[in-house]
Each structure stands twice: as C-alpha cells, then as structure tokens.
Symmetry: C2
Subunit: 158 residues, 2 copies
Amino acid sequence: MTDLFPKKGHDHDRCIDSAIAQAEKVCEAENARFTDMRRKVFSLIWQSHKAVTAYELLDALQAEGQRVQPPTVYRALEFLTDLGLVHRIESLNAYFGCDQPDCDHLGQYFICTRCGRVAETVDEDVSIAVRKAAKQVGFKIEATTVEIKGLCHDCTTH
Amino acid sequence: MTDLFPKKGHDHDRCIDSAIAQAEKVCEAENARFTDMRRKVFSLIWQSHKAVTAYELLDALQAEGQRVQPPTVYRALEFLTDLGLVHRIESLNAYFGCDQPDCDHLGQYFICTRCGRVAETVDEDVSIAVRKAAKQVGFKIEATTVEIKGLCHDCTTH
DNA sequence: GGTGATATGTTATAATATATCATTTCTTGA
DNA sequence: TCAAGAAATGATATATTATAACATATCACC
Ligand SMILES: [Zn+2]
Ligand SMILES: [Zn+2]
Ligand SMILES: [Zn+2]
Ligand SMILES: [Zn+2]
C-alpha cells in the first residue's frame, strides 16, 4: 500500500514551491503568461491539498485587500485548468492543484470526506477498463470524470 | 458491440411506462410514497433519455400551470435519487432516470456531447479496477462518480 | 512610442441550490 | 371516526456557483 496522500507533518512549503516551479515550466512551454493574478490564485489553491471553491479563492484575495470580482477568479481558474495545472472536481464544484501536470491526466481523484483532501492518480487499469467499456458500447470518449469519495488512509486509521 | 443507447425510432412510451412501473415497485418495497409531485417529476425526467436540470423541470411544471417553486423540485429529486430511481450527473448539474434501479448502481454514465443523451452501465471491470486502485492507496470507498463524455454510437455514424 | 492582442476591472445578472417556517395531506391508532 | 403526529408540499427568502458584456489597463511586437 502506498498512500497517495501526503504525510501529516510533511514540508508543505516544498509542495507549493515545486508546484509553482512546475507551473512556470508549463507556462513557458505553452508560451502562456503566468501573470501575478494567475500565480496568486495558483498559490492559494496550493495552500492545502484540499479542493477549494472559486468563492473561497475570491474571499482569500479580498482578505488581502485586493478588490477582486468573481470573473477574475474564474478567468484564472479557466487558464489554469486549460493548462492542466489545476483540476476541477465536478462533484464538489471545487478546484485543486495538479501535482503531475506533465502527464496527459485522464486522472482519477480520491476525495476524502473526512479531512477534505484530494489526491490524484493516473491508474492504467482504470483507464483501460473505462476505454474497454466504452468500446463495448461503441462510445467514442472525449473526456472522463472519475471521482472517488471515501476515507483516506490517515482518516481510516486515526 | 452492443449500443447502450436506445435506437432512434424506439417506442419511448414503453420506456416511460416501464420506468414508472419499476418506480412504483421500488417505492412499494421501500414503503415510500410515490406522490403526484414525485411521479410528475419522474415522468418529466423520463420524457427523454437526456439529463435534465432542476430548473428545466421547474419550467416544465410551471408551463403546466402549476405554481411550483424550486424547493419542491429539489425535494422530489432528492427523494428519487435517494431511492436510486434517478441519478445526478455531477458534471452537468442534471438528472436522469435510472433504467435499472434494482441493481446497486455503482454505475458509470456515458454522456453524449452531441445528442445529449445519457446511458448507464454497471461494468464490473471498471468497478473492479476502481476498487483495486483504491485498495492500492489504502482508500476506503464510500461513493464513486464515473462520467464519460463523448459521442454515442449513433452520433459517430450519422 | 504606437498598435493590436491579451489580461484584468467593473457591473450586472444568470444558473443552481438550500434554509426556514407555514400549510396541507396522509397515516395510524385510540 | 377522528385526533395527533408524521410526512409532504407551499411560500418566501437567500445562499452558492458561474457568466455576459463592456471598459480599462498591460503587454508584445514592430
Ligand atoms: Zn503538501
Ligand atoms: Zn482524510
Ligand atoms: Zn426511450
Ligand atoms: Zn449521441
């Protein structure tokens, strides 16, 4: 068993720094501008491993004294999700930071209903099973949403 | 290849009648009341094989002259989804009728982006792969959302 | 430095969902 | 049968999530 979720006392600053570094790389590769606002929103999303809502981000920005409106947040989120730097959790209407933005992320999301954290995996067996199921019914896949709710390992044992 | 989606010219009245008959059975078995409002909402959902939003249902009810408010629709939807007669498609904020309410529906949903129809499958291989992926990371599953968007067989060939 | 493209600001509003309390309808058992 | 309690619906208000439309600012490039 390898827990996808980070350990309790882990150095989260490293998560943040690494995520930002990766985001910079992706933006550069895509010739996309990692503006102050986008960087700010991205950092806020990475403050935890939980999914955050657009309005939580808005509140956080406003708490810092910025006069930000919803469209600003949604635009940043659109930019980040389009680049695969952030994923939207459909069943939560919330967003969280991708820790492997390089991969082609037809990912699956584990969502802990106790601690609220989200972890992403790109499980080949799941992908294969989904593709096979689609093929069996003559369905041409464009996108998949696989969201699994339950208890993370920490939350089952503590 | 067995298309999950109904044929174009199929007798949809039979779909509706059968769905209502099944719903009556389920409600009776659960000792739940299939009231006029719930039956009405259920029928409206079954007017097509597409997923419909709560407010589309509300509009349809109001168009019939009823003075219905959102809570009434959401209550009916909650009742129906709790019984497994209707499923919510998270990525669409919409609802559609289950055609196999007896099974334990850890189902997967195929959503055609062209014709808008939804079809449900309960694919064991997908379920197994998801359970295995969860086990590998020590995650205890409570619920799963598997929504697959793309083109149904009809829409790829016509 | 001027110009077009991109990003953000601003205002308004659309779309989805729920909280709360009042009223009606149903069930059930004295 | 009908009174009491439970369940469902009505009604009002509001919370939450998201986008449209147009103005302004910033950036990239020549
Ligand atoms: Zn971390
Ligand atoms: Zn947890
Ligand atoms: Zn039909
Ligand atoms: Zn189709």
